[in-house]
Amino acid sequence: MDSNYVKLSNSEKGLFYRVVKLNDEKIALRLTQLGFHESSLVMLKRKAPIFKDPLLFQVGESQIALTRKEAETIDVLEVQGEHYHE
């Protein structure tokens, strides 16, 4: 496996990542429906106050909240050169 893969839960705020793989069958369907499917572009936008969990992601036009545990099931690859500007 490519060592550049990271878990979405460990992604850096404001950087774009491409979804590589959904590892948990049980929640893969819902994640797909929410926009996390192979090759979709995602970005960590915010962390919940105090506990830094759940996490809020930008996916397409939507903002999706996932718990850290849910985000851990998603492998992503950083997309070089694309940054998010506020």
Partner: protein
């Protein structure tokens, strides 16, 4: 008459469209056998009448929840109800891509449908341009831009629906074929690819960023301000429930008191008078007093939901609540139950996971509702010395302790229930936080009133029947002519009280308490007046009666027994309305029975321990 069904993703504006099309010609029911709400309305257009059905929101037809299954079965023509002639797929134009998957699926199935491009006002403001002709060609269906909240484009929409309803129906594929389709390994991928292709063709100018939501989130989800605002809001919600609903409850109570007086005046003394005043009027009044709480709570919930805040509150509370075993959204039912468990249980609907929703409903009544307060204050005033302890007044500390025990017990029981109940669907947060939108108050008010009416219709009968039963228990049989004791002491209630006395003796209750407990199942606060009646407190007014009762309690009962009674009231299986609403919300007798059994055991064991420790 043709049927039209509305489908769409959550938050696409389906309910808004439904309201705009049907106005007040709508009703709420349940889908057969399950507790998913079914909203049906009717509308007339150029002399044709249509029945409109609002289906639960879905992302795609590959379902994971009960609500979604309703929608899928309906689209697959599996529903036993009248089939829909035409489907209106409501699309949030600012997030069109996400809806295309569902549109493709519906098209594949062979249903006739119209695409309603909703939220065009926002889309246009943000510079989006959609080539509707191309979109229409792609799906081979009419495409109508609308603004549901302003009623724009609705005429065009209905017109095309009507035209479509007159065309011959196509063959809808069977569920088996559908299942086969989606099992193909490339199914999802090819659908996703297709949506990309369509997007490339139909979007001629892309959306600019939603800076309003961005800015507001910077504030409302801020690590410090966000939390402060959240707690201020929760506190405000609680205050509004507690204080705001009070005058309305007072009004309803006064009205029924007045009606009672009127009836007493015009109906001669006797059973019939008692039946009307203490039975019927008290029963109906006892149902209607819940309305202010229910309506207020749902006004708050719907406003926060419509605005887009509810999901954000869940986002911020999720971590903490999950450590305690429940999802973030459970805060709303648990907090509201501190005013009254009835609206609290009803609000548990906002919890998506069915098992967690059930558990929340089962434990919410353990929190200290306002009906317990009169009982708590009576006993505390009678039994707890007015000392200070580490700077705090002892009575206040005890009251605080009772509140704390309620909520802590709720979490503990939730934890225990969780290990017993099979979780049918994965417990997840995974949710979309919608953009902030201006709440539409006419819809919010209508929906809240509907909640209230639904409660009266669905739970009212049960509450009424049970409260009549309680009335009969305390009224019959009649006291003998030369009775020396209060009439209630000759009634079935007293017989029940005396029969059960031995069972309750280990917690220090005598038959007077057990008798007074019987009517308290109607409403907890009734214990105060029923204890007065049983103990034959004579007084000119209520205030004096309470004073007299306090003195009597102090003289007649032990400290330990009264502590045990306080503890009993934390856990006791009450009240009948709680049972009725549990029955309504779960659509089964299993849950109210489970609730009754576990609270009874808990109440018994806990007050037993309390008495044994303190005596």
């Amino acid at each position: 008459m043709s049927n039209i069904a509305l489908v769409g993703l959550p938050n696409s504006g389906k309910s808004s469209l439904f309201n705009a099309l049907t106005k007040s010609r709508q009703r709420v029911a349940n889908f057969p056998g399950i507790t998913v709400e079914k909203r049906i309305g009717s509308l007339t257009f150029e002399e044709s009448t249509f029945t409109l059905l609002d289906l639960p929101g879905v992302y795609t037809l590959d379902v994971s929840t009960l609500d979604e299954k309703v929608t899928r079965d309906y689209i697959l023509n599996k529903s036993t109800d009248d089939k829909a002639e035409v489907f209106v797929l409501v699309i949030d134009s600012t997030n069109i891509k996400k809806s295309l998957y569902l549109a493709l699926q519906i098209k594949d199935l062979g249903q006739k449908f119209v695409l309603a491009l909703n939220m065009m006002d926002v889309a246009q403001k943000r510079g989006l341009a959609i080539d509707t002709d191309k979109l229409s060609a792609e799906f081979d269906c009419p495409v109508i831009p609308i603004v549901a909240t302003e009623g724009k484009g609705l005429n065009d929409l209905i017109k095309s629906v009507k035209e479509l309803s007159l065309t011959p129906s196509k063959e809808v594929i069977t569920e088996k074929d559908y299942q086969r389709q989606i099992k193909e390994s490339s199914y999802i991928k090819s659908k996703l690819r297709k949506t990309e292709e369509i997007m490339d063709k139909v979007i001629t100018s892309t959306l600019t960023k939603d800076t309003f939501t961005e800015k507001l989130d910077n504030f409302l989800l801020h690590p410090v301000y966000g939390v402060v605002i959240l707690f201020a809001l929760l506190l405000g919600m609680f205050q509004l429930l507690f204080v705001g609903a009070d005058p309305f409850i007072g009004m309803i109570e006064s009205l029924f008191e007045f009606l009672g007086e009127l009836a007493t005046q015009y109906i001669p003394d006797g059973y019939f008078q008692s039946l009307v005043v203490d039975g019927i009027l008290a029963g109906v009044g006892g149902i209607l007093v819940f309305l202010p709480h229910i309506i207020f709570l749902f006004l708050i919930i719907y406003t926060l939901e419509d605005f887009g805040y509810l999901g954000r509150a869940a986002f911020m509370l999720d971590y903490l609540m999950r450590r305690l075993g429940l999802p973030g959204k459970a805060v709303v039912p648990l907090l509201s139950s501190h005013a009254c468990a009835i609206p609290g249980i009803m609000s548990a609907r906002i919890i998506d996971n069915p098992t967690e929703r059930l558990i929340t409903m089962l434990v919410s009544p353990l929190t200290t509702c306002s009906a317990r307060l009169p009982v708590y204050t009576l006993i505390i005033a009678a039994m707890i010395p007015n000392d200070t302890y580490m700077g705090f007044g002892l009575p206040g500390l005890v009251l605080f302790g009772l509140y704390a025990m309620g909520i802590i017990s709720a979490f503990i029981i939730a934890f225990i229930l969780k290990s017993f109940m099979p979780n049918t669907s994965p417990s997840y947060l995974m949710m979309e936080l919608p953009e902030y939108r201006k709440p539409k108050f006419s819809n919010i008010i209508r929906a809240s009133l509907q909640k209230g009416m639904l409660f009266v219709k669905k739970a009212g009968t049960v509450i009424f029947v049970l409260s009549m039963l309680i009335w009969a228990l305390v009224t019959f049989p009649k006291a003998p002519e030369n009775a020396s004791e209060p009439a209630i002491n000759y009634s079935y209630a007293a017989k029940i009280g005396k029969t059960f006395e031995p069972i309750f003796r280990p917690m220090g209750f005598d038959w007077r308490i057990t008798t007074a407990l019987v009517p308290s199942f109607g409403a907890r606060e009734v214990l105060v007046s029923s204890l007065s009646t049983v103990m034959a407190v004579e007084a000119a007014d209520e205030e004096e009666a309470e004073k007299g009762l306090r003195a009597l309690i102090k003289n007649e009962f032990s400290f330990a027994a009264m502590l045990a009674l306080l503890v009993w009231f934390i856990y006791s299986p009450q009240c009948i309305s709680t049972f009725a609403v549990l029955r309504k919300e779960t659509n089964s007798y299993k849950m109210p029975i489970l609730f009754g059994v576990y609270t009874l055991v808990l109440a018994y064991v806990m007050s037993f321990i309390t008495y044994q420790v303190f005596s």
